[in-house]
């Protein structure tokens, strides 16, 4: 066992009492084990507390029946689901949150970003929620209700400054094609109604499949429904009322 020692000079005499400082390997191994266990325990405890238990608490949330007979949250269409993938791969989350804060906390409700604050139930069907931590742009949790116009979104994505002068949102022109008007008999699907001064002469500007999916997803973002009184929202009741 002693060949596991790789000190360049072998044992060192202890300065104070001349005793050899030479832990036998099994003993020092045990010590390491103890420390390792202690150290791991601290992080495993937080794992249980912050990951396992919350997961257990909110994973059981079931969609509820609204007063109008619909289930909530509704399932997203396949196209909208594809759009969410586009939202994720283009990283919209680094500028936009998707969570409406509580009434007395921040100006979310008064800005019209929602009629009520978001609760865990709203996300129960989402494999990957994109809650976000940054608001360089506005919260988008209910953008579908706030801005239901497909054409507005196309224009805005093509060049945000068309719809929102002074915007610092980047243009996503690569989500659009330009097709020559000449020689076409029909108007292509996904054509964008460009204002005169921004149009591309002699061309249609057309939303690609990705752009159409993305906008479909944005329009599906509408989580303002009033929840039934007794629905399990996944949070404490007083948290919602405040």
């Amino acid at each position: 066992m002693s060949d596991t020692r790789s000190h360049p000079d072998g044992p060192r005499p202890d300065d104070d009492d001349g005793r050899q400082v030479w832990l036998t390997p099994p003993e020092s191994m045990q010590h390491s084990l103890f420390i390792a266990a202690g150290v791991l325990a601290t992080v495993i405890a937080s794992y249980v507390g912050l990951v396992a238990i919350p997961n257990w608490q909110v994973n059981r949330l079931e969609p509820v029946m609204l007063d109008n007979g619909e289930t909530y949250p509704a399932e997203r269409s396949e196209l909208a689901q594809k759009g969410k993938d586009v939202y994720i791969d283009l990283g919209c989350v680094y500028c936009h949150s998707q969570q409406v804060r509580q009434n007395d906390f921040g100006g979310d409700l008064s800005r019209g970003w929602g009629m009520r604050s978001s609760v865990p139930l709203d996300y129960t069907r989402e494999e990957t929620p994109v809650l976000g931590t940054m608001r360089t742009g506005p919260d988008l949790r209910n953008i579908g209700g706030r801005q239901p116009s497909r054409q507005w979104h196309y224009l805005h994505l093509y060049n945000p400054r068309i719809t929102s002068p002074g915007s610092t949102m980047p243009p996503f022109r690569f989500l659009f094609d330009t097709v020559p008007i000449e020689g076409r008999t029909n108007v292509p699907v996904g054509r964008v109604d460009m204002p005169e001064e921004h149009s591309v002469p002699g061309h249609y500007v057309v939303a690609t499949d990705r752009a159409r999916a993305l906008v479909e997803y944005l329009l599906s973002l509408d989580h303002d429904q009033t929840l039934p009184e007794n629905a399990n929202r996944g949070t404490d009741p007083e948290q919602v009322d405040r």
């Binding site: 601290t42 997961n55 909110v58 994973n59 809650l131 360089t136 002074g166 610092t168 022109r173 996944g234």
Partner: protein, 478 residues
């Protein structure tokens, strides 16, 4: 004490033998780290510029802000800071345990594969494969590779510790030992829960912030503190002020830091108790932070003049002071009254850089100034350039933090007031975003200077030049 001539000789030889064993793996990790530092710096600058000038490089999907930003973060975290941090960790552990670095060949292989993994992950993000889960943007298959590599590092570290030739376990060892046990668990568990089917809905968000906060808290912070606890006393030649405090600091950090992450979700759609736990843990962090602050300060008292003479000391003391500042700021930011304003603003970005840059990166710079000459047997080629590196990065960081903290605070105040149109907020933040780009330019200059110094040293080493300039302090001939 002791018959000095032979003891002296033996101590010097033993130190040299340990450094020699660390040479290849540690130099490889650090050189790779510097490469990723430059790569990440370019990405950082592009991202920063885009925020005030959105037309900049906007025509290609792979350069869009939402990809460049996570690419920057991941190259810095998993490329620069992790690789360099592992280099520092291996060297420190070998020195403190007084044994050679074990598994040297495997560690070099780890470094090689690591570089490919980070490259693959970064390309994947730019190509549209990002997961948009903050701090875990690499696709799961890249994460799987990195997770496996972390386990090898952990094995090397445990072997070093088990074989140690010193009875006493110095406080840096506690931190390093903590880091190598915490992080692989954190990384693997975090990835499994988030990319697997373990969590969905808002539980994924709590898992996300448990992970992301802990990357700083129980991976980079322990490495940074271990380095500070080693280099401050070692450079000035004076033992740490209160050894007892340092151990108290370690265990309180271990107990509280990893509960604090959910303060990133205050006010959000997660159960209230989860937020409260995060806030309470953030407050408890005052204990380890203040013990560390007092300890480092008291060690330095009477020795501040030495800052003028030692590059290592300058960077490390800058880093250690930033640790106190970032931690106090973090605890205060977790308070609901403060968080209401600062959440979702550039204030948070400033805070994150105070941690990852002013603390971690500066400590890593300082450590490299000490370690690399001892591994390559070459002295740094220019004093003025080292000073230039210090002042550009130091001032750049201060400017960065001040600008975005003020800008973020104003942004937060305006967001709370529904009478102010959103676009007006966007316009108000612009000057602060410009100040950040300016700061980024300063810091970039520093990084290129540093890369030049490291490159020059490695070149002299590879071509067997410059040996004559080695002073006795670095183990050169007397």
């Amino acid at each position: 004490m002791g018959d000095s001539e032979t003891d002296l000789e033996r101590d010097a030889q033993s130190r040299k033998a340990i450094d020699a064993s660390a040479r290849l793996p540690v130099v490889f990790m650090m050189a790779s780290g510097v490469f990723w530092l430059l790569f990440g710096t370019v990405l950082a600058f592009i991202a920063s510029f885009k925020l005030h000038s959105p037309w900049f490089l906007a025509d290609q999907a792979w350069l869009t802000f939402g990809r460049v930003r996570p690419a920057h973060l991941n190259t810095m975290i998993y490329g620069w800071a992790s690789m360099t941090g592992i280099g520092v960790l291996l060297w420190l552990q070998a020195r403190l345990s007084r044994v050679r670095v074990p598994l040297r060949k495997s560690l070099i292989a780890v470094g090689v594969v690591w570089n490919f993994a980070v490259l693959a992950g970064t390309v994947a993000i730019l190509a549209g494969g990002s997961t948009s889960v903050e701090w875990l943007e690499f696709p799961p298959w890249v994460a799987a590779i990195l997770g496996a590599l972390f386990v090898v590092v952990m094995a090397a570290s445990v072997l070093t510790f088990v074989r140690r030739n010193v009875e006493h376990v110095y406080v840096s060892q506690w931190y390093l030992f903590g880091a190598v046990f915490w992080f692989p668990f954190l990384y693997i568990a975090g990835n499994l829960v988030i990319h697997g089917t373990g969590a969905s809905g808002v539980a994924e968000a709590t898992a996300n912030w448990w992970y992301a906060h802990n990357v700083l808290g129980i991976w980079f912070t322990p490495i940074g503190l271990a380095a500070a606890y080693y280099f401050i006393p070692k450079v000035i030649g004076r033992p740490i002020h209160s050894y007892y405090l340092s151990l108290l600091g370690f265990w309180t950090l271990a107990l509280f830091y990893n509960w604090a992450g959910t303060h990133h979700l205050i006010g959000g759609p997660i159960p209230l108790w989860v937020q409260t736990v995060g806030i309470v843990a953030s407050m408890m962090m005052f204990i380890p932070v203040i013990t560390v602050a007092i300890n480092h300060h008291m060690t330095m008292v009477g020795h501040f003049d030495k800052l003028e003479y030692s590059p290592t000391l300058r960077f490390i003391v800058f880093g250690a002071m930033s640790y106190t500042l970032v931690s106090v700021q973090g605890s205060l930011t977790a308070l609901r009254v403060v968080n209401e304003t600062t959440h979702f603003t550039h204030y948070t970005i400033a805070h994150a850089h105070l941690g990852m840059y002013a603390f971690v990166t500066m400590v890593l710079f300082g450590s490299m100034y000490y370690i690399l000459p001892r591994l390559t047997g070459r002295e740094w080629s220019s004093g003025p350039l080292i000073r230039a590196h210090f002042w550009t990065t130091g001032l750049g960081m201060v400017l960065y933090w001040v600008g975005l903290t003020i800008g973020g605070w104003i942004q937060g105040q305006m967001l709370k007031n529904p009478d102010i149109a959103f676009i007006e907020i966007v316009q108000t933040t612009l000057p602060y975003l410009w100040s950040r780009s300016f700061a980024a330019a300063l810091m970039s200059v520093g990084h290129f200077i540093f890369a030049y110094l490291v490159g020059r040293m490695l070149y002299e080493w590879a071509t067997d030049r410059g040996k004559d300039r080695l002073p006795p302090m670095l183990g050169g001939d007397q």
